[in-house]
Amino acid sequence: MQFLYSGLTSGSIYGLVALGFNIIYNTTGLINFAQGEFVMLGGMLIYSLFCVFEVPFYTALPLTLLGCFIIGVLYERVFINLARYKTEINLVTLTIAASIIMRDVAMHIWGRDSLRVDDYIPVVNVQMPGGVISSQSILIIAVSMLVAWGLNMFLKKSKYGKAMRACFDDQTAAETCGINVRSVRIMSFAVSSAMAGIAGVIISPITFVTYDDGIMIGLKGFAAAILGGLGNFWAAVAGGLLLGIFESFSASVIPSGYKDAMAFFVILLILFLKPDGLFGRKKATRV
């Protein structure tokens, strides 16, 4: 059971990152390589605000998310929008370039060391059937479920959410109906980077934050998204949880040095066996 709890904790983070991949993939058809970098950025910003400048947490959190939001908008404006030849391959290469730049700028600002973020809530170990779970893990699981639920509500109920969903289905048709596809694109980048920011904020007291965290967490989020099936929100969350549980169980069998390799084997396995993901539907391709 202990493995299940730790798996759920890391799994909910992967789920959040996978959601971010999903949003951008749905609106632009791109795999955003910098997704993991935004997680790192969230952790770094909260470290600076909360631990260095000692801003109260309830001010620091919105500021961090706002920061991620703004950087997400800038990211879309600078890298995606300015590109003169918007073929898919160019755009993907651009996101790779952007992730390299972000990582290295972060290295120059925050240095190469692991930074420790103070706990937001007092650490208590709660006795659960078959093991203990810390209050931090409960916080992570609760927050990510809340965010996933909130995103779902946002997409279903609000005007902007509906516009975004229209664009997921058919961009041309959405544009004909008077939806500003351009602003939806910007919005999707901003929302997904803010979500990655939340993931970064809640995970950094446990794992600490290092400038090169982004690659691995992005990779695992991608594995979770593939596992669930790109294009389906709840599937992304489920994929994240499954991946987390799988990873923590496998850590009990194989040496921990190889733990990070599991995510990759999951990608390959899923692509071999069921390319649309566990919960994905087949999408017709249009020419």
Binding site: I96, I100, I101, G257, I267
Partner: protein, 311 residues
């Protein structure tokens, strides 16, 4: 049929000949050899990205795989170094085929993530499997390539060996650039659906190209092993994949000359400016972004346009 780019080939041969005969400083010859190795890798990536439209950011992993296979086989099992090179290439071919065949059938973008993952995993394995690879402290005691009575131990003879391989490679690439195969690959890059309606199976062709280029890179990695006599996982990290990507893109995607130009330029800059090291990755990333955003042909493409306009 277009004509071969003789100017470029002759120019390269002259430059290599000049370095081989006139330059006596061992250090410069060493730098030149490394540049040639980078150039081969960058050109392989260029054929993937510029011709076929496959993004791979795990080229360093194939390079490293080749290097380690060659090192382990020649040192621990006493196999002739020349024989280990094709074995290394075959190993990379199989690995790339296994990774590529499920992924390339799907969305092409997935491959970028998957190769990134593969690169990270192989890097982890190189570090963790210290009973074979020597772990983070590296693999030592690698022998020399011996051809007949020539022992390629010193810088100069190795440079000659590498130059010959490089010129052969370049000639093959030029032939490829003028062949119908290259048209097929560019066709795939431009429209997979159109390809399918003309009876080409894009997935199969892409997997073959991906695996062949992986094999080529691994072959080159084996050469690298016998040149440096010491390898450690650091040389094959994600960073090197990014460097290769920057070299191929800045030099010019879709031009054989591009990979060579990019490798020479980006390979020389760190040698000239030592302060460059600190900001290396930012500069690579920035160059990559700027070239893709505004100059998709890179240096080679821009030069070609200028020449055409004036002619």
């Amino acid at each position: 049929m277009k004509r071969l780019n003789f100017t470029f080939l002759v120019l390269m041969a002259c430059v290599l000949g000049y370095i081989g005969t006139q330059v006596t400083n061992e250090y410069y010859i060493g730098v030149a050899t490394l540049l040639l190795i980078h150039a081969v890798n960058a050109t392989a990536l260029n054929i993937l990205l510029g011709y076929t439209g496959i993004i791979s950011i795990g080229q360093a992993a194939f390079f490293g795989l080749g290097a380690y296979v060659a090192a382990v086989l020649s040192t621990n099992y006493g196999i002739n170094p020349l024989l280990t090179m094709p074995i290394a290439a075959a190993a990379a071919f199989v690995l790339a085929y296994m990774v590529g065949s499920p992924i390339l059938k799907l969305h092409g973008n997935y491959l970028a993530m998957a190769t990134l993952g593969m690169g990270m995993i192989l890097y982890i394995f190189m570090n963790e499997m210290d009973f074979i690879t020597g772990g983070p402290s590296g693999f030592v005691g690698i022998g020399d390539i011996i051809i007949g009575k020539f022992d390629l131990a010193d810088e100069k003879s190795f440079f000659v060996f590498m130059s010959i391989i490089f010129m052969v490679f370049l000639l093959v690439c030029e032939l490829f650039d003028k062949s119908f195969l290259h048209n097929k690959l560019k066709f795939i890059k431009n429209s997979e659906s159109a390809c399918r309606s003309y009876g080409i199976t894009p997935a199969r062709t892409k997997v073959m190209v991906f695996a062949s280029m992986a094999a080529l890179t691994a072959f080159n990695g084996a050469i690298f092993t016998f040149y440096t006599h010491f390898i450690s996982p650091v040389s094959f990290s994600f960073k090197y994949s990014v460097e290769l990507l920057a070299m191929a893109t800045v030099g010019g995607l879709g031009y054989i000359t591009g990979g060579v130009i990019g490798a020479v330029l980006l390979g020389l800059v760190p040698e000239i400016f030592s302060a460059f090291e600190e900001y290396e990755m930012i500069i690579y990333g920035g160059l990559l972004a700027v070239v893709i955003m505004f100059l998709p042909g890179g240096i080679a493409g821009t030069l070609k346009r200028l020449v055409k306009r004036n002619a």
